[in-house]
């Protein structure tokens, strides 16, 4: 007989250790950030992210975003919802300057992304942890190396990379798959690798594009709980999702897009319009 329930998810056991497992220096940085930020959060003068009148037209003429205005204070938790093709991923691409807005301003942490010199772009991206909708894993690197890569690019000393990667892989339940390359992973495992990579370098802002599309409900909830805990530490989280159940249950801020317009932006909203 198959061993029913024999599968344990490392994430759940590792959960209480999230902070204590962090090396001292990192802990301090997180704490100080949380403390420092609580003032920022109180002062809406300096939000982490501001989009003003943003329009995005792709070269083929497609209008993916129209006159989008959005202000996200530091420490916020935002769900980005909307039907397929509404412009969620496009919005995210603008935030990491993968695309540049046709019109309007995108200001991240006080820097106008449209006028950011090319050489500054990597620095901005390292502040952010991004889960791409199509994962964007390096095909010739193992899970471990893919996650370690996000630390290497920030110039983290070699000695700190190992423990940090191991910890985050345990968190998403990929310890056993650490040496497999992406083509040897299941869809959900690839997605969890992408999530691990987005978390490992302790970013100030986490942007997750449909991070649970390939995950079963149980792991989805665990990932979400992880994001909520990280958010409680003061990290801003923005998550594009189609998971109505989760959005409606959590009652956080919901920004709804449709055909490129922001049609709804309410704190404590549900997945669907409620009126």
């Amino acid at each position: 007989m198959p061993p029913i329930g024999g599968r344990t998810i490392q994430a759940s056991t590792a959960e209480p250790n999230l902070i204590t497992a962090t090396p001292p220096s990192t802990t301090r940085s997180i704490r100080s950030r949380v403390l420092g930020r609580s003032q920022d959060q109180a002062s809406p003068e300096r939000p982490l992210l501001v989009l003003h009148d943003v329009t995005m037209r792709y070269p083929n003429g497609k209008l993916a975003l129209r006159d989008v205005d959005l202000v996200i204070p530091e420490g916020d938790f935002v769900f980005l919802v909307g039907p397929s093709g509404a412009g969620k991923s496009t919005l995210i691409k603008l935030l990491i300057r993968d695309e540049v807005a046709t019109r309007g301003e995108v200001v991240l942490d006080g820097q106008d992304l449209a006028h950011l010199p090319r050489r500054q772009v990597p620095r901005i991206r390292r502040k952010i942890g991004i889960v791409f909708q199509d994962f964007k894993l390096l095909p010739s690197k193992s899970v471990w190396e893919n996650v370690a890569f996000a630390l290497e690019v920030t110039g983290t000393p070699r000695g700190r990379i190992g423990p940090a990667v191991d910890r985050v892989l345990a968190l998403v339940g990929l310890t056993d798959q650490a040496q497999q390359v992406p083509s040897q992973l299941s869809g959900g495992e690839q997605q969890r690798t992408a999530i691990a990579r987005a978390l490992v370098h302790d970013p100030r802002l986490i942007i997750a594009d449909e991070p649970t599309g390939n995950l079963d409900p149980l792991i989805s909830w665990e990932i979400l709980q992880l994001l909520l805990r990280i958010n409680e530490l003061g990290v801003t989280v923005m998550m594009a999702t189609h998971n109505a159940e989760v959005v409606t249950a959590l009652r956080r801020r919901v920004v709804a897009l449709e055909e490129g317009w922001v049609i709804r932006d309410e704190v404590g909203g549900a997945y669907h319009r409620e009126d």
Partner: protein, 294 residues
């Protein structure tokens, strides 16, 4: 800084082996092209040596007056030897001249006309070897100016013609070498570009994750250097394997013994390694650049 270099090197090494099919194809191309370049360089070197050897054979012959005194001849000889254009001067007396003439007639199968004569009709001569055959006119004129010289064989036209041919050969060899060199350069850079194009997506992902340009570029550049190095070693290995037949061929063909094989080998190793690594680095640099700039 050093740790970054070490890091990039280990990355490059990984990258090379993880895209093994592609890396090895590029290495094979690199090796073949370097082999070709080395081959033409060897031929060109041999050709130049052969031509120089031929040109060294040019000599100015001045016939002496029958009444010239031995000490006058010696003075003339040492004066000629003092000229910077002159390599060496040999004195050929009448008996040697007659013997040589007879030998050359026999060798050509012609009749020996001298046997109809009662006495030796030939003159003694001075044979002057030149440092550079294009100085033939200056040396000839210097000899003609001396009263002890009866006449100087007029070889200026002949030398001009020889020089024309050797210069054409030199130019042709250089042109072929340069054309081959340019083609080799293009092909290698092109091959590395193909290998990088295939990994464009990887570069794009690295950038999206926040890797700086240097962080992406250097592993690729080192990988290009690996490809170049391995290709160069491949080419040198093949050359070493065929070195004996080649040197035999060169001696046969260009009839050149004075070719210093030691310095040729050293130059060749420097050329092949330098070209391989240099082009590998250049190719990677240029190819990655196109993906980093935009």
């Amino acid at each position: 800084m050093l740790s970054f270099v070490l890091f990039s090197l280990s990355r490059a090494w990984q990258g090379f082996w993880r895209n093994a099919v592609m890396s090895l194809a590029a290495t094979a191309t690199m090796g073949l092209m370097l082999l070709m370049l080395a081959g033409f360089w060897i031929i060109q070197t041999g050709l130049l040596a052969g031509l120089q050897f031929t040109e060294q054979k040019v000599e100015v012959v001045g016939y002496l007056q029958p009444n010239a005194q031995a000490n006058q001849i010696e003075v003339l000889q040492s004066r000629l030897e003092a000229m910077p254009e002159v390599a060496s001067v040999a004195y050929i007396d009448r008996d040697i001249a007659l013997a040589r003439f007879r030998a050359s007639m026999t060798a050509q199968g012609r009749e020996d006309l001298t046997r109809y004569l009662d006495s030796n009709p030939l003159y003694a001569s001075l044979e002057v070897k030149l440092v550079d055959p294009s100085n033939v006119r200056a040396v000839g004129d210097a000899m003609r100016a001396d009263p002890n010289i009866r006449n100087v064989i007029n070889i200026e036209d002949l030398v001009d013609r020889v020089l024309t041919v050797t210069n054409i050969l030199r130019t042709a060899g250089t042109v072929v070498l340069v054309v081959v060199g340019i083609i080799v350069l293009f092909i290698i850079v092109n091959t590395i570009r193909l290998a990088v194009v295939a990994r464009a997506e990887e570069i794009e992902i690295m950038r999206l994750v926040g890797a700086s340009d240097a962080f992406i570029r250097w592993p690729f550049v080192f990988e290009g250097a690996f490809v170049g190095l391995l290709g160069a070693l491949l080419a040198l290995g093949v050359l070493a394997a065929v070195a004996d037949p080649i040197s035999g061929f060169m001696v046969d063909f260009f009839r050149v013994l004075p070719l210093q094989f030691g310095s040729l080998t050293r130059d060749l190793v420097v050329l092949v390694l330098g070209a391989g690594v240099g082009l590998g680095v250049l190719g990677s640099w240029l190819s990655v650049r196109t993906y980093l700039i935009r």
